[in-house]
Amino acid sequence: MKPIVPAERTKNVQYAIRDLAVAAGELKSQGVSDILYLNIGDPNVYDFVTPAHMIDAVDKAMRENKNGYVDSLGIAEAREALEKEYRGRGVRADMERILVTAGVSEGLELALASLVNSGENFLTPAPGYPLYTAVLNKLGVKPRLYMTSEENGWQPDLQNIKTKIDKNTRGILINNPNNPTGAVYPDKTLLEILDIAREKNLLIFADEIYNKILFNGGKHTPIASLASETPLLTFGGLSKNYLVPGWRIGWMAFTGPEKTIGDYREAVYRLARARLCAPGPFQYAIKPALEGPQDHIREMNAKLQKRSDLVVERLNAMKGVHVTKPMGAFYVFPGIDAPISDDKGFVLDALGKEHVLVVHGTGFDWPKDEKTHIRIVTLPKEEILEGAMGRLEKRMQELYPE
């Protein structure tokens, strides 16, 4: 039989963060045991522990035989808790406008599949979380990137956004707090994005998965709290704030006038029904997570403050490297002045020679012709970060031998 030929649209589907893990896996299988992993944004891999009361809630649900299919929108108690949480933050979304999904990954896929026809476009940020363009490519929609500006604290470049909009542009995504830069957007930025969206009829997707992970004085405003009359999708989840990325629990809230957003929301719900439901038992952890003790967040943010300070200081001290101070999430996105033509090659080199694993900027849709950047995760303990900084210093010394 002839070889099976994969579909065309899959050629462009990449996910650098995980693709590098394959290279690290090969090194490990060759006996290398001292790799320092600064590549995956997974707190559970480091010294962060899932709050026990959430695990108890899931245990209880399973023992009560709540192991069957649940409502396609998500269990009522979870959506009620989310309605309350959003109301407390100035966002009016009643529970019928909230959908629970298998991670924000699934949510984005449902939302984009229900919105964008091929031939149309949807704006996503550069640098940005690569899942956005992966999903667009999966749908056969060509990604269209808008720049965020390093000189301006990695805020969206509004002039650049305006040049990217045409009559086929359906919407724009902002990720705040930001992966990979750690930026947190002030209200002014959010209001300007709302203005552009209103003027150009764009649906805003706000990925706010890191919204409680804040330090260095960072304050997060949900964009939906600034405009109830502009249609908006706000995405969030338990993964990062509540230390359970492996559970795949996310959600989206639809806000805006019913006559503008109602049909679209029903389309998303139709697609949601066709995949039945998100995993049931974990949804019983949403209410206890949102309404129970929040101490672990304070502790996490205190740790991250120290760790990001360490990393920022060490990086800025390296010749040819400079990094913006993050205010949220757990990443930094340093720039390297040396002329590196292949940032992935640079990263694989650092992995092979120094056994330190970071992720190349082009893996975050950072344009090739811009200065090289890499993403470093600031989750590991100080000792590991110190060790990693030392190894990166060695790499930089090779780039700038004196």
Binding site: P3, V49, D59, L243, Y264, R275
Partner: protein, 401 residues
């Protein structure tokens, strides 16, 4: 701002099974008691998840295994699935040929997304589980439905399949044991389908999610065991056999010659990386499920066989219905033999409003004629008896000669 218009592909997506629930909810909200014969969820009835599965998940969470898992699934789960495949007679499968997915629903989407270009088609059975047509529509591919033959125990109609294959056909989907008919495919049928696949370069997608739910001592044949020179994706999961549909634990097994499937397999795994992973903690229940105690399966099948016997007998006795005998899974697909009933959807709404029985209309499963409906025989005997009596009343009250 202008109204947001949904994408074309979203307009074509329907899912009858959940869509009727919306109607029933209106009655429930008024306080009426509904006899639910619509959803294939054992947990809603008197079936309990085996405790050792729950313990395995509890243990994983307590050990803080709550982070992202490998995109292909955790190693011990994939190894357990590979071992089970070998026990079933599928040759040459290692853990590297297994991908864990968030239910078979997600698995099918990944597999078809990796294969179908717009304008391509994949053969899907009618009647058949509606997720397949929903995914084909979502991908902008073309529906190409093949008949299954009620007179022949709902086996796939091989001649019809042969007629429907064209140069844009990339694969064929089998659901065995079958939802919604309860058919169990004979070795002869499967051999013929394998031949067609070989002749026309088709990938076989064999959905075997109900493969341990069997009656009358019948044996299930896993398609991939019949030919190792044809590419087969075998789908299965914990949902039905192990009574945890809400956990969304599924998997797919790639078999066939390496040079035929390797690019395609790599693509599916690459698409899987871009959605990160399937829920981690539940994957720790796969090995205990497949290798631990299996007695709940015999208990489940003993219960279900009695319930199957009841509905098969009664549907063939009641004037106005007939029904083929289900051999596996927990569904029956009776025929409405009332001449003046010409619309299965209206029939379903009528029995819902007049007798508070909730079933699903046959055309919702892609069946070409509006004269069948699907019921589940998961409920206990007394609920099934009550439902059958009410259906008999309904026919007498509305269609007496």
């Amino acid at each position: 701002m202008n109204k947001i218009i949904p994408a074309e592909r979203a307009n074509k997506v329907t899912y009858a099974i959940r869509d009727v629930v919306v109607e029933a909810k209106k009655l429930k909200d008024k306080g009426m008691k509904i006899l639910n014969l619509n959803i294939g969820d054992p947990n809603v009835y008197d079936f309990v998840t085996p405790p050792h599965l729950i313990e395995a998940v509890q243990k994983a969470m307590a050990k803080n295994l709550n982070g992202y898992a490998d995109s292909a699934g955790i190693e011990e789960a994939r190894e357990a699935v590979a071992k089970e495949a070998a026990r079933d007679g599928i040759k040459g499968v290692t853990k590297n040929d297994v991908l864990m997915s968030t239910g078979v629903s997600e698995g099918i989407e990944l597999a078809l997304n990796a294969l179908l270009n717009p304008g391509d088609n994949v053969l899907t059975p009618t009647p058949g589980y509606p997720v397949y047509t929903a995914v084909v529509n979502k991908l902008g591919a073309v529906l190409n439905q093949y008949k299954t033959d009620e007179a022949n125990g709902w086996q796939p109609d091989i001649e019809d399949i042969r007629k429907k294959i064209n140069n844009k056909t990339k694969g064929i989907i089998l659901i065995n044991p079958n939802n919604p008919t309860g058919a169990l495919y004979s070795k002869k049928t499967l051999d013929e389908i394998v031949s067609l696949a070989r002749e026309h370069n088709l990938v076989i997608f064999s959905d075997e999610i109900y493969n341990k739910i069997l009656f009358d001592g019948e044996k299930h044949h896993s398609t991939a065991t019949l030919a190792d020179d044809v590419p087969v994706l075998t789908f299965n999961g914990l949902s039905k056999n192990y009574i945890v549909p809400g956990w969304r634990v599924g998997w797919m097994i790639f078999s066939g010659p390496a040079e035929t499937i390797s690019d395609y397999k790599d693509t599916v795994f690459r698409l899987a990386r871009s959605r990160l992973c399937s829920p981690g903690p539940f994957q720790f229940a796969v090995k205990p499920a497949l290798e631990g105690p299996q007695h709940h399966i015999k208990e489940m099948n003993d219960k279900l066989q009695k319930r199957r016997d009841l509905i098969y007998k009664r549907f063939n006795e009641i004037d106005g219905f007939s029904c083929a005998k289900p051999k596996g899974a927990f569904y029956a697909f009776p025929k409405i033999e009332i001449p003046s009933v010409k619309d299965d959807r209206k029939f379903i709404m009528d029995i819902l409003y007049k007798k508070q029985i909730l079933a699903v209309f046959g055309t919702g499963f892609g069946y070409a004629h509006p004269d069948h409906f699907r019921i589940v025989f998961l409920p206990p005997m007394n609920v099934l008896e009550e439902s059958l009596n009410k259906l008999e009343e309904y026919v007498k009250e509305n269609y007496s000669k």
